[in-house]
Structures are given as structure tokens and as C-alpha cells.
């Protein structure tokens, strides 16, 4: 019985923790412009992250080492440095977007300008990182993030023409005045939003934080293989609700307010409270995870002591790194740059940086030094290679498409 509870908690936490500000904004935006004609990208991205999270979780459970730790020793310090710089930059940008998302959620709840909340949120995030146990942190924000199911409820409440929605999913093409370059640009953005690099660092480092062993492998797999797809369904729900409410009115999404407004339309004030709590949990949780990932990547490259499983003074550089990254992110937001724009750029840069993360994982997952007899079988390698190809394609296409479509206009 206790096992079942543990499994359920793990799955629920994975679902609630799946959506972050990038998924929220990108799916809402895409739904309002393309309906569900890009749903296949979200689905593909979910499968991709399942494949790579499973691999990095396996590496953590069997070898006791998180992935970024191994990247340097397996690929050499110079290649490792390239992976580090790229991954750290993208993770820090994503963290900034999440901080912005939390601040915007507070603005929508209170009416006070979001900039006032930026320093407050930064300090709150740090306090949690400093004092709250890893597992407690994951459980609280993961479960609270489940409130985003309200998007699925809203879709059901809207009594959509399911046939028409299904038709959109089956027909992958731009609609209305949208062009193919813009279609592919948002395909790359959605892909980057679903397969964010920090997820993998966090998942494998988190495995070590929670002292996973071989026995935890099954639980880790269940979390990933059930939790992430269900989280992906939430992403599709977000795109569906804006498709239903904004697409017919030619409304384009560029604020967080517009992202949650459809919930108020369908479910009233109660729905609005629930969705704002859910957005808070999802973005705050993601801010914690990205800050930790920023610390993990650099500390693991240099071999410095890292982790919340030791006292802060035993991992001074790890904590100092996180503090400075948080401050840098907050300062960027305080220049009044639009946090939604930061989010949109962060998902595209995520797509750009994906090969730096996924290629090493695929290599390490085949190395018996770390995995013994649990290296990739043919199926895992087949899937891994397919997704590596997709990841490289998306990365190569990202900047040209961004320039050609002027970032999606």
C-alpha cells in the first residue's frame, strides 16, 4: 500500500511539474494562431523528453552520478565546456522567464505592478532553496501544479466540437493568413518548450539528491512514462482552450492575462483562482528547478560539492552560484524587458541548445562503465537516434527561422 502511495505521489508530482511558463505561454499562443494544427509537435516533444529523462534517470540510479557530472569526463573538458556554457545560458534564461511568470501571476492576482514582485519572488525562491528539503519542495509544488488540470476542465466545459478538434490535430498545416515559415518556427518553439534541457539535468541530479538506487529505477520509469505524457495532455488542453476561445476572435496571446482569461470565461471566479494558483505553483516550481539546474551544471563540471543533501556551508560554491544566477535573472527582469518575450526567446534557445544536452546523454547511456548491464538496448538506441536527429534538425533550423519570420510575426 505504501508503495502504491509512493508511486502515485511520484506520478502526480511529475504531471504537476511538467508544465512551466514556456509550455504555458507557447501552447496558449500556438492554440490561438494555429488551433491544434501543431499538436503533433507537442506529442513528439513529450515522447522525446520521456526517452531522454528515462536514460538520464537510469544513469543516476545505476551509477549514482548525474549526467552533467559525466559529460565532462566522457567528452573531454573542452567539449564539456561548450555543453556547459550553452546549457547554463539557456537554463539561466529559462529561470529568468519563470521568475517573470511568478511575478506576473502575482500581478494578476493583486493588481499591483509585476516589477514590485520581482525582488520578492527572487528572495522567496532563494529561501526555499536554502531551507526546504528537496523532496518536500518537489512534492508541494508538484502537487499544487496539478491545479492546472483546470485547463482540461475548461475545455470539457466549453463543449467543443471534438471532431473538429481531432481534425485539426490530423491536418498539420498553417491556417488563415499564417505562412509555412511561421508554422515551422512555432514547431521549433513548441519542441523546445516540451524538451527543455534543464529537465534532464534536474531529473538526474534530483535522482542523486534523493539517493536513488537500482531499486528506484522502476519508480523513476513509472513517473516518467506515465507522468510526463499526462503532463503533455495538459499542454494540449492549454492550446485547445485558446483555440476554442481566441481563434474565432482573432486574438493573439502575448500576455499572461490572456493565457488565463479563457478559464475565467468558462469557469468563472473559482476557475480563475484555481488557475492562478496552478500557474504560481508551476512557475515557482520551475524557478526552483532551473536555479538548481544552473548550480548543478557548473558545480558538476568543476567537481565542486553540490546538492541540497549537504549543508549549505559544505557546498558554498554551489549555493553562491545559485544566488548570483537568481540575482542576474532578477536584474534582467527589472530592466522592464517583457517577461513573455523572454519566455518566447527561452523556448527557441532551448531548441537551439538541445543537441548539447542530448548527444552526451545518448553516449553515456551506452557506456557500460556507468550502466553495467543496463545500457541501452536496441529499442532505446533506435528511439534515441531518431530523437537526436529531430533535435539536431530543430536546433539547426531555430535561428534561420527566427530571422526569417522575425521571431514569429
Amino acid at each position: 500500500m505504501k508503495k502504491v502511495l509512493a508511486f502515485t505521489l511520484g506520478v502526480l508530482t511529475a504531471i504537476g511539474g511538467f508544465v512551466d511558463i514556456g509550455d504555458l505561454v507557447t501552447n496558449a499562443l500556438v492554440g490561438a494562431r494555429f488551433g491544434l494544427h501543431l499538436a503533433w509537435v507537442t506529442m513528439l516533444g513529450v515522447i522525446g523528453i520521456c526517452v531522454f529523462a528515462e536514460m538520464s534517470g537510469r544513469v543516476a540510479a545505476i551509477s549514482g552520478r548525474p549526467t552533467f557530472d559525466i559529460i565532462r569526463e566522457r567528452l573531454g573538458p573542452r567539449t564539456g565546456l561548450v555543453a556547459l556554457v550553452g546549457s547554463f545560458f539557456v537554463t539561466a534564461l529559462t529561470m529568468t522567464a519563470e521568475l517573470g511568470g511568478v511575478s506576473l501571476a502575482f500581478e494578476l492576482a493583486t493588481g499591483l505592478n509585476y516589477l514590485l514582485f520581482v525582488p520578492v519572488v527572487m528572495v522567496l525562491v532563494w529561501v526555499v532553496l536554502w531551507r526546504v528539503k528537496f523532496t518536500t519542495m518537489e512534492n508541494i509544488f508538484g502537487l499544487m501544479g496539478l491545479l492546472l488540470i483546470v485547463y482540461a476542465v475548461a475545455v470539457w466545459h466549453a463543449h467543443p466540437d471534438w471532431g473538429s478538434l481531432a481534425h485539426q490535430v490530423r491536418v498539420p498545416r498553417p491556417i488563415g493568413q499564417e505562412t509555412w515559415p511561421t508554422y515551422w518556427y512555432y514547431a521549433v518553439a513548441l519542441f523546445g518548450a516540451a524538451m527543455t534541457p534543464y529537465e534532464v539535468f534536474f531529473f538526474s541530479s534530483g535522482g542523486v539528491e534523493e539517493h536513488w538506487t537500482r531499486k528506484d529505477l522502476i519508480e523513476a520509469r513509472v513517473n516518467v512514462l506515465i507522468g510526463f505524457p499526462l503532463g503533455g495532455i495538459l499542454s494540449l488542453a492549454i492550446a485547445s482552450i485558446t483555440a476554442l476561445i481566441y481563434l474565432p476572435r482573432s486574438i493573439e496571446v502575448d500576455t499572461l492575462g490572456q493565457t488565463v482569461l479563457p478559464i475565467a470565461v468558462e469557469l468563472g471566479q473559482l476557475g480563475l483562482i484555481v488557475v492562478l494558483l496552478g500557474v504560481f505553483a508551476a512557475t515557482f516550481g520551475a524557478a526552483l528547478e532551473t536555479a538548481l539546474s544552473a548550480g548543478y551544471t557548473i558545480a558538476q563540471y568543476f567537481g565542486w560539492q553540490w546538492g541540497k543533501f549537504v549543508r549549505p556551508r559544505q557546498a558554498p560554491r554551489f549555493h553562491a552560484l545559485m544566488i548570483f544566477t537568481l540575482i542576474a535573472g532578477a536584474m534582467l527582469l527589472l530592466t522592464t524587458v517583457d517577461p513573455i518575450k523572454v519566455t518566447e526567446y527561452s523556448v527557441v534557445f532551448s531548441a537551439l541548445a538541445l543537441p548539447l544536452t542530448y548527444f552526451p546523454i545518448l553516449v553515456i547511456a551506452n557506456d557500460r562503465t556507468y550502466l553495467g548491464d543496463r545500457v541501452n538496448g536496441r529499442f532505446a538506441n533506435g528511439l534515441g537516434l531518431v530523437f537526436l536527429t529531430l533535435v539536431v534538425l530543430a536546433s539547426v533550423a531555430a535561428i534561420p527561422l527566427m530571422i526569417w519570420t522575425r521571431a514569429g510575426q
Binding site: 493588481g111 486574438i251 492575462g257 470565461v265
Partner: protein, 140 residues
């Protein structure tokens, strides 16, 4: 020779840019007007709360002002694109104005004014839709 050339100057590449910009600005403004409509209706139906609607509509107002000033800052290069430029400027200005009025009414919780402004905003949106189509189809 020179006089003949300037006299016969047809629409230039930069004229096309004015039509493009008209179309883009119209599309963007329609989105803001419609957002204001949805937010207003939701608030009037008591499905949200005042501060929330305030944030949404103030954001729309900020965007609308920006759309308008970006468009009017670019002068049309020749006489042939003047009409579309003038019409778009006027339409954008009226739309931004209406959104500001709605924001003011909402802050004062003036339900009566909000309800009066609704059909005006809806009309501004449909006028801009016609302008959008015109800019797209009449592009040189």
C-alpha cells in the same frame, strides 16, 4: 527627362511596406480590441474580479498605444500610399482611444459606461477588419 520620370513615378517598394504595416497594425489592434471585449464581458458577468480585469485591459491599452505610435512614426514615401496611411492612422487612433476609455470606466467600476462602450469597440474591430482586407488586397 527628369520631370517626366518623377511625374510618372508609380508605387515604390516602400509603398508596399506601408500596406504591409497597415495590415499588420490592423491585425494587432483587432487582437487588443477583442481581448478588451472578452475581458469586459467576463467582468460584467462577474466571472472575474475588478483588479484582474484592470490588469488585462491596461496591458491591452499599453499594447494598443504602442501599435498606434509605431505605425504613425513611419511617414508614407509617396502620394499613392497616403490614403491607406491616413485611414489606418485614424482607425488605430480611434481604437486606442476606445480602449483607454474602457480602462478608465473599468477603474471607476462604471458599469453603465462600460456597456455603452462595448458596441463601439466591436464596431471598431470590424472596421479594422475591413481595413486589414483592403491593405492586403490593394497591395501594389
Amino acid at each position: 527627362m527628369v520631370a517626366v520620370l518623377t511625374g510618372c513615378a508609380g508605387p515604390t517598394i516602400r509603398d508596399e511596406a506601408v500596406y504591409n504595416q497597415s495590415e499588420k497594425s490592423a491585425t494587432a489592434m483587432i487582437s487588443e480590441l477583442q481581448t478588451v471585449l472578452v475581458a469586459t464581458d467576463t467582468q460584467l458577468a462577474e466571472k472575474s474580479w475588478w483588479r484582474f480585469a484592470d490588469v488585462v485591459i491596461t496591458d491591452a491599452e499599453t499594447s494598443a498605444t504602442s501599435i498606434q505610435s509605431t505605425f504613425t512614426s513611419r511617414q508614407p514615401p509617396s502620394a499613392s500610399s497616403n490614403p491607406i496611411y491616413e485611414d489606418t492612422s485614424t482607425a488605430l487612433s480611434d481604437a486606442a482611444d476606445l480602449i483607454t476609455q474602457m480602462r478608465v470606466a473599468l477603474r471607476q467600476k462604471d458599469v453603465a459606461t462600460m456597456q455603452k462602450l462595448r458596441p463601439k469597440i466591436a464596431k471598431a474591430a470590424s472596421d479594422l477588419e475591413k481595413l486589414e482586407t483592403r491593405a492586403r488586397t490593394q497591395k501594389p
